[in-house]
């Protein structure tokens, strides 16, 4: 188990430990054995995702009313870390699906929730979240996709970039502009696969995150029923922002898992690999490296839990803490993963050992859900004000 029980206030209760243990067991049995192959074949294992969803992992922090599991963000961090030990990419896609599902569950009306949540919770329908555009990433307020009201439909036009799950998802939560320039003009829509005018670009070739599809989502006079509008007109920016705090924790947690797994593989490797007549783990330089890796990870994990607890408690500092956690956890974890690769020597560089894949996957986490530079912008604004 990667998650220790801890002592108050850094304490996990019995249920949380069981939850983490279950997710870890699932990752060990069902995800880790396929991870390298899925990466090579660019294969999203939907069957495995649906198995995970049977255990409640498709709508982890959604309300139980329409099929969610009703977990907290701290619980979710434990789950995504555990899944991430199997494969950070599969864990990250599961987290993105969960975020899109949570948006519909939280901001949708009962009719919308009843319509979409059961399918999303079972992952019979996969979810995707579409905010980023060619000219608008973290500066969401500048997004250019438009939605024009026409009778009982909105007509959407524009293109969304870097969309995880594009082409395989059944439900897309899309941010589009219904009003003036600026944040108040943005509205959220649920667009189902198969809607006329919805199409996808070619699958992107990526350094990592290869087991999940990434493509552009194109909207070409895409007619979406008014009933698919999520929340009020102009309420989209608020929904987008609300999703980000949790999305950042999720990505950080997936990184924790990747690095934890890299550390575990390394501890085993240095105990077995012999040079100069003894296992290399007997050399103090190796021991110190392992000690530092474990210490850095424990620091990162402790801070991740703190930020997750702040989000659960609706702490006024939650956005800053989540941004801090995303930045620091994803920076620490890739360093640990890179160190793990180094300690594996030439084997670390070979695909079959899985180390280089973890490094490639975790590299994405310094970029997505807002780059780590943008995290610093958020933190600086929060503590300094807009100087």
């Amino acid at each position: 188990m990667s998650t220790v029980s801890g002592t108050a206030p850094f304490h996990l209760d019995d249920d949380q430990r069981e939850i983490a243990a279950m997710a870890r067991q699932f990752a060990d049995d069902r995800i880790a054995p396929g991870a390298v192959e899925w990466d090579e074949e660019k294969h999203l294992p939907v069957d495995v995702l649906r198995e995970a969803a049977e255990l409640g992992l498709g709508a982890i922090y959604c309300d139980e009313e329409f099929g969610g599991s009703g977990m907290t963000r701290l619980d979710s961090a434990l789950i995504f870390e555990a899944l991430g030990t199997g494969c950070p990419t599969i864990a990250a896609y599961t987290s993105i699906h969960n975020m899109a599902t949570w948006m519909i569950d939280t901001f949708g009306d009962d009719e919308q929730r009843a319509k979409w949540i059961p399918g999303l919770a079972s992952m019979e329908t996969l979810g995707a979240y579409c905010l980023t555009e060619a000219g608008a990433g973290s500066d969401a307020a500048g997004l250019a996709t438009t939605a024009r009201l026409d009778g009982d439909h909105y007509v959407l036009n524009g293109a969304k970039q870097f969309i995880s799950g594009a082409g395989v998802a059944g439900v897309y939560v899309i941010m589009a502009r219904t009003g003036d320039k600026g944040p108040k003009g943005i509205t959220a829509f649920v667009v189902e696969d198969g809607t006329e005018g919805l199409s996808f670009g070619k699958q992107e070739h990526k350094m990592g995150w290869r087991a999940q599809p990434t493509a552009s989502v194109n909207l070409d006079d895409c007619r979406v029923p008014v009933a698919n509008r999520l929340g009020e007109e102009g309420g989209g920016f608020r929904i987008a922002m609300a999703g980000l705090d949790g999305g950042r924790l999720n990505i950080a947690a997936c990184s924790m898992g990747g690095a934890q797994s890299a550390l575990e593989k390394t501890i085993q490797y240095v105990g077995e690999r012999e040079q100069f007549g003894q296992p290399i783990g007997r050399f103090q330089s190796i021991q110190f490296s392992i000690a530092d890796m474990a210490t850095e990870l424990e620091m990162a994990r402790t801070f991740l839990w703190r930020a997750a607890s702040a989000l659960d408690a609706k702490d006024p500092d939650k956005t800053r803490l989540c941004a801090m956690a995303k930045r620091t956890v994803t920076d620490i974890t890739i360093e640990v993963a890179d160190k793990a690769l180094q300690l594996h020597g030439g084997y670390g560089y070979l695909s079959e050992y899985g180390l280089e894949k973890i490094v490639r996957d975790l590299r994405a986490h310094q970029i997505i859900e807002g780059t780590n530079e943008v995290m610093r912008v958020i933190v600086a604004r929060d503590i300094m004000g807009r100087v």
Binding site: E18, M22, E54, L55, S69, G70, D75
Partner: protein, 264 residues
């Protein structure tokens, strides 16, 4: 209607280094604990009998004898799908040997009068492999161990059990006590909801007095097995490494090695 009792046990987590406390001769059970992994196969077997309709099961009851912390093992058992659980806990039980434990479990089982008792074939700590058999003896029911396949026809179970060489196929009539091997099934994972709901399922906590169990037959008072000492197992001879340079030659070497030892 059929009732299944599943015997479960709290054991040290597999990651915990196990040690015998030389002053008491008992296993040091401090540290992280978990539900005995073999018992999860017994629970799964019970659930499969219920869900497949092979038996008309209306209730699966998890039963344990153990310290107060063993409640967690029962929570795990009901999170996996048992309907309720029974916990026998009493200071007088400390130090029970296999026969004493078997007696106490048998008394608990009599209170429930189930049609079938399932158990894991061994515990991950004591590893006696014998508790199921002791329970069967006390109940006067047929007992089968190391069962890896169960087929039901009315009140008759056809069981395949792992024997030293190959498999035995044995028919028993219910009621019976069956301890299962880990090859019998793939235990399911508990869902998030099942984990969160585990504490809401009925859990009956009993002392020896509550269960009308004779305290002189259990614990230190009733034990017949006495620990006298321990020693390291003899070190294994180093294995022989055969480098695979020419596969045909390697195969020949392996065959010759096996042949020398009359293994083929």
């Amino acid at each position: 209607m059929t009732k299944i009792v599943v015997l479960v046990k709290e054991v040290p987590d597999a990651a915990v280094q196990k040690q015998v406390d030389s002053s008491t001769g008992r296993l040091d059970r401090s540290g992280e604990k978990t539900l005995n992994p073999f018992d999860t196969h017994a629970i799964e077997a019970a659930l499969q009998l219920k869900e497949s309709g092979a038996l008309d099961v209306d209730e699966v009851v998890a039963v344990t004898v153990g310290p107060s912390s063993a409640v967690k093992a029962l929570h795990k058992a009901v999170s996996l799908g048992a309907d309720r659980s029974i916990h026998l806990t009493d200071d007088a039980l400390v130090g029970s040997d296999v026969v004493g434990t078997g007696y106490a479990l048998a008394e608990l089982i009599k209170r429930e009068s189930p049609d079938l008792v399932l158990a894991g074939q061994q515990s991950d700590d004591g590893q006696s492999y014998a508790v199921g058999a002791a329970v069967a003896e006390y109940l006067g029911w047929p007992g089968l161990t190391q069962v890896i396949k169960l087929d039901v026809d009315g009140q008759t179970l056809t069981c395949e059990r792992q024997a030293e060489y190959g498999y035995d196929t044995v028919k028993v009539t219910l009621p019976a006590v069956i301890s299962v091997g880990d090859a019998i099934n793939e235990p399911r994972y508990p869902s998030l909801k099942a984990i969160m709901g585990a504490k809401k399922k009925p859990l009956e906590s009993l002392s020896l007095g509550d269960a009308e169990i004779d305290a002189s037959k259990v614990g230190e008072a009733g034990r017949k097995a006495v620990w006298t000492g321990s020693q390291e197992p003899p070190a294994k001879a180093a294995g022989e490494l055969i480098e695979d340079e020419d596969t045909a030659e390697t195969v020949e070497k392996i065959v010759a090695w096996l042949d020398d030892r009359k293994l083929i």
